[in-house]
Point group: D2
Amino acid sequence: MVIVRSTLTFQPVLDRIADEIAQTPTRGRPADYIPALAACDPARFGMAVAELDGTVYGVGDWRQPFSAQSITKVFTLALDLAREADELWEHVGREPSGNPFNSLVQLEYENGIPRNPFINAGALVVTDRLHTRTGDAAGTLLDFLRTESGNDRLAIDEDVAASEAAHGDRNAALGHFMASYGNIDNPVPVLLDAYFRQCSVAASCADLALATGFLARHGIRSDGSRLLTQRQAKQVNAVMLTCGTYDAAGEFAYRVGLPGKSGVGGGVIAVVPGRCTLCAWSPGLDEQGNSVAGVAALDRFTTLTGLSVF
Amino acid sequence: MVIVRSTLTFQPVLDRIADEIAQTPTRGRPADYIPALAACDPARFGMAVAELDGTVYGVGDWRQPFSAQSITKVFTLALDLAREADELWEHVGREPSGNPFNSLVQLEYENGIPRNPFINAGALVVTDRLHTRTGDAAGTLLDFLRTESGNDRLAIDEDVAASEAAHGDRNAALGHFMASYGNIDNPVPVLLDAYFRQCSVAASCADLALATGFLARHGIRSDGSRLLTQRQAKQVNAVMLTCGTYDAAGEFAYRVGLPGKSGVGGGVIAVVPGRCTLCAWSPGLDEQGNSVAGVAALDRFTTLTGLSVF
Amino acid sequence: MVIVRSTLTFQPVLDRIADEIAQTPTRGRPADYIPALAACDPARFGMAVAELDGTVYGVGDWRQPFSAQSITKVFTLALDLAREADELWEHVGREPSGNPFNSLVQLEYENGIPRNPFINAGALVVTDRLHTRTGDAAGTLLDFLRTESGNDRLAIDEDVAASEAAHGDRNAALGHFMASYGNIDNPVPVLLDAYFRQCSVAASCADLALATGFLARHGIRSDGSRLLTQRQAKQVNAVMLTCGTYDAAGEFAYRVGLPGKSGVGGGVIAVVPGRCTLCAWSPGLDEQGNSVAGVAALDRFTTLTGLSVF
Amino acid sequence: MVIVRSTLTFQPVLDRIADEIAQTPTRGRPADYIPALAACDPARFGMAVAELDGTVYGVGDWRQPFSAQSITKVFTLALDLAREADELWEHVGREPSGNPFNSLVQLEYENGIPRNPFINAGALVVTDRLHTRTGDAAGTLLDFLRTESGNDRLAIDEDVAASEAAHGDRNAALGHFMASYGNIDNPVPVLLDAYFRQCSVAASCADLALATGFLARHGIRSDGSRLLTQRQAKQVNAVMLTCGTYDAAGEFAYRVGLPGKSGVGGGVIAVVPGRCTLCAWSPGLDEQGNSVAGVAALDRFTTLTGLSVF
């Protein structure tokens, strides 16, 4: 991929996208499995682009914190990979699942080894291992996000975490099921607590675009230190592209053409390797659990700028 | 086919890769479901890189024709998309299957609509539709490959085609199964004949790297005419990246980081959008049906050149 | 099971059941995959009981021929078992499938060995093997049914057979799929022809109740000769009870409590071992493909007479 | 417990079976998922037959208590059915599962409603509902078993219960999974405690043959009071026949031809409706989790006595 750096900023593109989104009536429905998410207004929309040097452009509700949810799976994956490297891949796969994000079916056929780190089962394995290595997976994540975003107020929404725990039977089932195959280290309730807290991080488009920057900088953090090797950064991007949006990964690759990861809070992050990172947010989801306006905004961005990996 | 040795050529990289591959003893086993493929020597290896202008670099058996097999699915997809555009996607999906390439399971759960055009069921649908639109799917493919590669001797290996037909019960099952859902236009025996002939095209690494060029040129054929829109070319690349190597698409994206497509003849093509196309060949396959040395060669190429999309 | 032979006949019970059925408005819908079956009037109803000595009682349309369809699977199973005994069970299982009658899913997970002889895949295997052993599976079946029923006019409805063949893609898929695993002896088109003719036998409730008699007589045919050993007859009854009514075998056992087998023509046969055999017919089917009024009539019969195996 | 040796007794049959079993070297392996079961000697064997009036015949280790395990599912089913009748069937099905006893796959496809009350998921639902209705499912079961067997020392083995709980991740996964579909009333840990205690009842062949008597007496308890209606007793027998031995129900029906239920402790109960009940025990299991010698003994019993339902 050859990219020529123009003197233009991303602001006009973001403004145009926001205008187009504002004229689009269909927005999907917020996640309704916990009250905290169901109350979100699907009319809200924000988007941010962060350049490699930390310059951020934004539009709409781009500074409004929202529930990051599954977007955090990218960061825990990177934080654990940085610590244990390839040993992780003996406990979680790297293939698309072809099934909904909380499916148990494949897990059973494949003896408790989840298909990839972005379905819930795989994310539980990653969090379990990060928790073992750090003693506090959610805290490690929070530190990382605060540092990369430069936002010290970035925090876990404890109400959301409690609500997740109160509606956490499916994840409890996943945890116990994998534990029955010996693929979980921590006691399942301990793991679930860490996982629900991780999912409940509240962050803005600006925060998340900045925190994703290391994936566009081939593994380098905002302070210039290395989190991942170049090869690992490439690999995380590859897993995002093939597995990042539940069972709509093919659709996302087809439309947006960038490594990306969505969360049921309505956020979606994306990476233009070597160039910039993006985060769009709008709470209304499609049937696969991806933000309708968020994906549409990223689709428009790659079409307008030509900044797809394909 | 014009071969120009530019001052900054890919030749040294290819030579180095060939040296490394020559020192790697493990090569997998040739496909054994038909005698014509089983007889191939797994020690053979070739690789070619084609630049956008048709310049080709090669090493090893890069001019040796081999059975293209599933690699042809990329071309029939493009040839059909060029004719019917998005209507195709009502009959075949764009999501990774997460299952082996000839699985019937998912097809049943999803009412005869294959997951993507690169599993056998999906390729049968594409060939069926191309056959309806052109009257001769295999002939249309052959014309295209000859023109793009500049090789008029490129041909269908009729012995292989006959052998495929004699061992074609699984594909016959797929065809009849989808016909029972109304997703096949032609009589199943007619479709199977076209499909087995398509798979039996014999072409070299040089031929296939050149024929793939339109995907690196954003839809433009070798003569400057447009086959696909820029958006369609991007979309075919996206489907290759997420679905191109059977149930190892995640692994391929993770290791190679390029849109690619493999065939059980031992060939693998790959695309560096805006830059070049590649084809590697070695008959020994891994358990997922992908060429062991072919994938390893592409892995080394992206590592040595940095030409990954991630 | 202890049964005391009374002097009373079954006629009053049948008359009462017919009265009750006549007052039941809900009758389901005839099978609609081929025109010949779709044209049947769901208001029709017949029922026959045959005692061990060949005495037959009947009510309603009990002498009206209808399409026997899957009921014939019981007879081909017995006719093949009589010839090859336990070797058959290496090619077809004896377990309930838990899936619809024409599912390919389980077949794939279990390498082409169908779960039992009463799902379509299993019946194809049985017919294939009987065809190999007799040279004419459908003819062998027809001879048997004519002899046991004493009805020489009993025949294959060639229009139905042609219609089955014209809508036979699903069974063609099953045949080719199992052939790909080496579990079919005859060419698939030959097998399909035999199978579609077998399914198209037209017979009445009286015919089928009489023809089933050997299963109540522990393996003895109407002329006193032995078709099956006592153990084999018990085994066929067991397979009927656990697998005879598609994915509603549990429901049938729960409601009727007898070994039974249904067909999409609306017929259902049942066995009271050591006592009598039954056949009920009404073309309207439920969602599982079983005759609504036919099953209801058998349910009433066992409730009124206490003649359940439980 | 009254033991009368009648002139036409089952004793000679039992003695003969025990002799035959003693000469059979192949016995399978004890369940090894908890130490308490793994320690059992597979050479042990016992068998008891109880007539309708409470007369019991036995051989071998027929008075030796063993872990009843899944055999208790028959009793909790009956105890709950007696309380809520058909409402239960809205929460658990009556069809064979066609899958291993602790599978989550089918449960997911069928939205948290287990296929039948004898797979673990279904048994959890039954215990949950019985616990809601009685306040103490395991205690209710224990009372019932003591009364029917006349054995006041019959007890829960608390060591086994603790061991089950310590290895209970799979059942915890099932419980949480169904809770996520709203199909569990009690908190999952409460349910699991009741369930593990239920499974840990220790009882002998004599105890269990006697306690099963109500199913041969069409619903009547040992004291002459009615537990189930005649229709319900018939239905429980039907569910036992089609679903009682995990994914080998067809095999059991085919070989033994009686309603039966096995447990991983090595016990198997069976019912000859209107005649007698049986329990055989030997700790060595086959791959489906059924007692090798226990099933063989029941097979011989029905062959020697002709007391099959078919």
